[in-house]
C-alpha cells in the first residue's frame, strides 16, 4: 500500500501526540499522585442506609492525626451533612453514596468530583488548605428538583472546628 511521505510524517506526529497525552495522564498519577475513584468500597443496600454505621448518621469523623473521614449521603434533593465541616490543612477522605437515584458530587471549581450511585460508595481523598467555603453541586440530573440540589464544604480553623464539632454532636 502506497502512503505519501507527508502522510507518514503526520502519522508519526499523531502517535507522538497520543503518547504525550498518555504520558501526561500517567505523570499526573505518579507525580502529583492523582488517584481515580475506583471500586475500593463494597456495595451497600441503598434502601437500608440507616443500618449502615457510616451512613446512618452522615458526619465528619477524625480517624488519625490530621486525618478525617466524611460520610456523605446524596438524596433528592440535597446532601447530608451540609455543610461538611473540616479543619484546615488536613487530609479528608470523603465516602459518598446515594440513597435514591444517581447524583453527582462536585466541589465547584476544584478537582473534587465524583458520581454518587445508589448501591455504590465513592471514595475520594483530598488535602484541604486554608480556611475557605466551597459550594457543592449535584452535577447529574436527578429529578425535577435537580437544580436546587446544593451543599457546602467549609474548611475552618482548628479552633472553630473544635467548637463546631462539640456543638454539632447530638
Amino acid at each position: 500500500m502506497h502512503i505519501h511521505a507527508y502522510e507518514k510524517i503526520w502519522l508519526a506526529l499523531s502517535i507522538v501526540l497520543i503518547l504525550f497525552l498518555l504520558g501526561s495522564v500517567t505523570y499526573g498519577a505518579v507525580g502529583p499522585g492523582v488517584a481515580m475513584v475506583a471500586d475500593s468500597e463494597a456495595q451497600i443496600d441503598a434502601n437500608a442506609l440507616d443500618e449502615d454505621d457510616r451512613f446512618a448518621e452522615p458526619r465528619v469523623e477524625q480517624v488519625g492525626e490530621n486525618e478525617y473521614e466524611a460520610y456523605v449521603v446524596a438524596y433528592q434533593f440535597g446532601f447530608d451533612p451540609s455543610p461538611i465541616v473540616v479543619p484546615e490543612d488536613s487530609t479528608v477522605t470523603l465516602q459518598i453514596t446515594s440513597r435514591d437515584v444517581i447524583h453527582g458530587f462536585e466541589v465547584a471549581g476544584t478537582n473534587a468530583n465524583t458520581m454518587a450511585v445508589p448501591g455504590e460508595v465513592a471514595e475520594v481523598t483530598v488535602e484541604v488548605g486554608e480556611p475557605q467555603e466551597y459550594g457543592i453541586v449535584c452535577n447529574e440530573y436527578c429529578g425535577a428538583g435537580h437544580h436546587g440540589m446544593e451543599g457546602k464544604l467549609h474548611v475552618v480553623t482548628e479552633e472553630e472546628f473544635e467548637s463546631e464539632d462539640g456543638g454539632d454532636s447530638e
Binding site: 505519501h4 499523531s14 497520543i18 441503598a46 465513592a122
Partner: protein, 606 residues
C-alpha cells in the same frame, strides 16, 4: 467507470424508488431537527436566565430530554439511513434487493421514534400520566414510562434491518461482480453498520432484559452501575455512528465539490476499519468518576480512546489534502495561497469545511475528556456539552445541512431555492456555535454543571475568570439564538426548494480517488477478519468489568429503589388504568404519523 453515464442522470432519474426512501428519511430527520431546535432555543434562554417565562424549571428536563433524543437519535440516525441508502445504491450502481423490506425498516424506525417521542412530550401535559424525563442517557433508577423504552427498542430493531438491507444489496452485487473491490462508499457503510451491531447490542440488552421489564413492574429493581455501563458500551460508539456519515461525505463528496479528488482510497478504508475496531472498547471513559469500576479498567479504556484519535487525525490530513489538490488544479499556489481558490461561495463546500474546522477544535476538548484524571476538572460540567456541540452539534449537524444543499437536488431534481441563504446559514451556524461552545467550555472550567435548569446557586458564587459566569451566560444565549435562526433559515430554504419546479441537467458526479482502491491491500475488504478482531477487543475491554459489576452488585443491584418520573405517588394506581389507554392512543397516533410521513414523502415526489 460508469461515471460518464451517471453524469447525465441524477440519483432520482436513475433510482426513483430509492430516491423516495432517501427523501423520506431526510424529511424525518429534518422534522426532528426542527423540534430539536425549538427545544434548544427554549433551553438556552432558560438556562442562562435570559428568559424563564416559557417553561417552569421542573419542565426544563422534559425540554432537555426532547432536545437530546430528537437531535442525537432522530435527526442524526434518520439522516444516516437516508445517506447510507443513497451511498450504497449509488456506489454499487444497483437498486436495493427488495424495496418492501426497505419500507419496513423505515416504518419500524419511524414508529419507534414516534412512540418514544410521545412518551417524552406527554411530560408537558399534566393530565396524561406519562413522562420520560430521564434525559437521553436514561440512567436507572430514574424510570421512564414503558413506552419510552419500547419505542427505543423498536427503533433499534429497525436500524438493524436497515443494515441487513444494505448487506443483502452488497451480497447481491458481489454475485454479479465477482473479484471487484467493495466500492468505497459501500465499504464505509458496511464497516459502520458492523460497529453499530456490536455497539447497539448492549443497549438493546439493557432495555429488553432490564429496563423495559422493570418499567412494566415485572422485576423489582435494576443494578444502576450495570445498566449505566451497558448504556456507555453503546453510548460512545454511537457518537461515531453519528460521525461516520459525515466522514463518508468528507471523504467521498467534499473532494469533488472542491474540484479535487480523494487523496487516498486505501487510507480511507484503513480509517473506517480503525473506527470499527476501536469505537466500542472505550465506553468506560464516560465512567472515569464512577465508583464500582476499578482504576485499571479505566486506564485500558483511556488507552483505547487515545488511539481512537488516530483515525480522526489521519482523516484531517487526507481530507485537507484532497481539497488542496482541487485548489492546485485551479492554479492555486503557495503554502497557504491555494486556500483562496476554493469554492467558498458554495454552501455545501463552506459548510463542510467549517464543520471540519469545528471538529478540529472539538478534537482538543475531546482529548481532555479522554484524559482519565483530568476528568475530575470537567466531568459533568457544561464543558462536556460544549464539546459535543462542536462534534455532533457541528461536525455532524453542519455537514448534514451542507450536504443537503448538494444532495437534495440529486434526489428531487429541484435546485436549491437560494444558495446565498444557504451560505449565510452555514456561516451563521459556525458563528453561533463558536460563541456558544466557547462560553460553555469556559463555564465548565468554572465548575458550572451541565443538565440543570438553573445553574446559579444560593450558597456560593463561581470563581471570576474567563469573563465570569454572567457574561458567559450572555454569550451562550446569543450563540444559541443564532443557531436557532440558522436552523430556521435551513428549514425555510428547504421548504421553498420543495416548491421549485423540477429541472434537468443538475446531475453531479463524484470523481475517483488519486490513489485508488487497487492500491489497498485485499485484506481490508475481508470484513470477517475485522468483525473477529472488533469482537475480541470488545470482549477484552468489557468482559472483566461487567463480570465484576455483576459479581459485586448482582444482576438486579445490591438493593436500590425505583423512581418513576411518570407517576406521582398519589396517582400510582391510576397508572394501571392509564397505561393500556395510553397505548391505544399511541397506536392510533403512530399510525397517523406513518400516513403523514408517507404523504409528505409522496408530496415531495409530486
Amino acid at each position: 467507470m460508469s461515471d460518464a453515464l451517471e453524469a447525465e442522470e441524477t440519483f432520482l432519474d436513475r433510482y426513483p424508488a430509492e430516491a423516495k426512501i432517501v427523501r423520506s428519511a431526510f424529511l424525518g430527520s429534518f422534522l426532528a431537527l426542527t423540534l430539536g431546535a425549538i427545544f434548544g432555543i427554549i433551553q438556552t434562554l432558560h438556562r442562562t436566565g435570559i428568559f424563564r417565562g416559557i417553561i417552569d424549571s421542573s419542565d426544563y428536563y422534559t425540554v432537555l430530554t426532547a432536545h437530546g433524543v430528537f437531535l442525537v437519535i432522530s435527526f442524526t440516525v434518520f439522516f444516516l439511513v437516508g445517506l447510507f441508502t443513497w451511498a450504497v445504491v449509488r456506489s454499487l450502481d444497483r437498486p436495493l434487493v427488495n424495496i418492501k423490506i426497505t419500507w419496513t425498516w423505515y416504518l419500524l424506525m419511524a414508529g419507534g421514534m414516534t412512540m418514544t417521542g410521545i412518551s417524552i412530550l406527554a411530560g408537558f401535559v399534566d393530565a396524561i400520566d406519562m413522562s420520560a424525563d430521564v434525559l437521553y442517557t436514561f440512567y436507572a433508577p430514574l424510570q421512564a414510562h414503558p413506552l419510552f423504552y419500547t419505542g427505543l427498542a423498536v427503533f433499534i430493531v429497525g436500524s438493524w434491518l436497515a443494515g441487513a438491507d444494505w448487506f443483502r444489496t452488497w451480497l447481491a452485487w458481489r454475485e454479479e461482480n465477482p473479484n471487484e473491490r467493495i466500492p468505497l462508499q459501500t465499504f464505509m457503510v458496511l464497516t459502520t453498520m458492523i460497529m453499530w451491531y456490536i455497539a447497539s447490542s448492549a443497549v438493546a440488552a439493557s432495555v429488553l432484559i432490564f429496563l423495559l421489564p422493570w418499567s412494566l413492574g415485572l422485576i423489582e429493581s435494576v443494578n444502576p452501575t450495570l445498566t449505566r455501563t451497558l448504556f456507555w458500551f453503546f453510548g460512545h460508539p454511537v457518537v461515531y455512528f453519528w460521525l461516520m456519515p459525515a466522514y463518508l461525505l468528507w471523504y467521498t463528496v467534499l473532494p469533488s465539490i472542491a474540484g479535487g479528488r480523494l487523496f487516498s482510497d486505501p487510507l480511507a478504508r484503513v480509517v473506517f476499519v480503525l473506527f470499527l475496531l476501536l469505537s466500542t472498547p472505550v465506553g468506560i471513559h464516560h465512567q472515569y468518576l464512577d465508583p464500582g469500576i476499578a482504576e485499571g479498567f479505566k486506564f485500558i479504556s483511556m488507552t483505547n480512546t487515545m488511539f481512537l484519535l488516530l483515525p480522526s487525525l489521519l482523516t484531517a490530513f487526507t481530507v485537507v489534502a484532497s481539497v488542496e489538490y482541487g485548489a492546485r488544479q485551479r492554479g492555486g499556489t503557495g503554502v497557504f495561497g491555494w486556500l483562496r481558490l476554493l469554492p467558498w461561495r458554495d454552501p455545501a463546500f463552506t459548510g463542510m469545511m467549517l464543520a471540519g474546522l469545528m471538529f478540529a477544535a472539538g478534537g482538543f476538548s475531546g482529548m481532555v475528556n479522554a484524559g482519565m484524571n483530568v476528568n475530575y476538572m470537567i466531568h459533568n460540567t457544561i464543558w462536556v456539552p460544549g464539546h459535543f456541540h462542536l462534534t455532533v452539534g457541528t461536525a455532524v449537524a453542519l455537514t448534514f445541512m451542507a450536504a443537503t444543499y448538494w444532495l437534495w437536488p440529486q434526489i428531487t431534481n429541484k435546485p436549491i431555492y437560494s444558495s446565498q441563504i444557504g451560505l449565510f446559514q452555514v456561516v451563521l451556524w459556525f458563528i453561533g456555535m463558536a460563541l456558544m461552545s466557547n462560553a460553555m467550555h469556559a463555564q465548565g472550567l468554572l465548575g458550572v454543571p451541565r443538565r440543570t435548569a438553573e445553574p446559579e446557586y444560593s450558597g456560593f458564587d463561581y470563581p471570576v475568570a474567563f469573563g465570569g459566569f454572567e457574561e458567559l451566560n450572555v454569550q451562550i444565549a446569543i450563540g444559541g439564538t443564532l443557531l436557532f435562526l440558522s436552523t430556521v433559515l435551513f428549514i425555510g430554504n428547504l421548504v421553498l426548494t420543495m416548491g421549485n419546479p423540477r429541472v434537468s441537467g443538475i446531475a453531479e458526479t463524484l470523481r475517483p480517488a488519486l490513489s485508488g482502491p487497487d492500491d489497498a491491500p485485499e485484506v481490508l475488504d475481508d470484513l470477517r477478519i475485522w468483525v473477529g478482531i472488533a469482537v475480541t477487543l470488545v470482549v477484552l475491554a468489557y468482559a472483566l468489568p461487567l463480570a465484576a459489576i455483576i459479581n459485586d452488585g448482582g444482576l438486579l443491584g445490591p438493593g436500590v429503589g425505583t423512581y418513576p418520573v411518570w407517576i406521582d405517588a398519589a396517582v400510582g394506581t391510576l397508572a394501571d388504568v392509564a397505561v393500556p389507554a395510553a397505548w391505544s392512543l399511541v397506536d392510533a397516533l403512530a399510525f397517523l404519523g406513518f400516513r403523514l410521513l408517507d404523504a409528505a414523502a409522496s408530496g415531495v415526489v409530486a
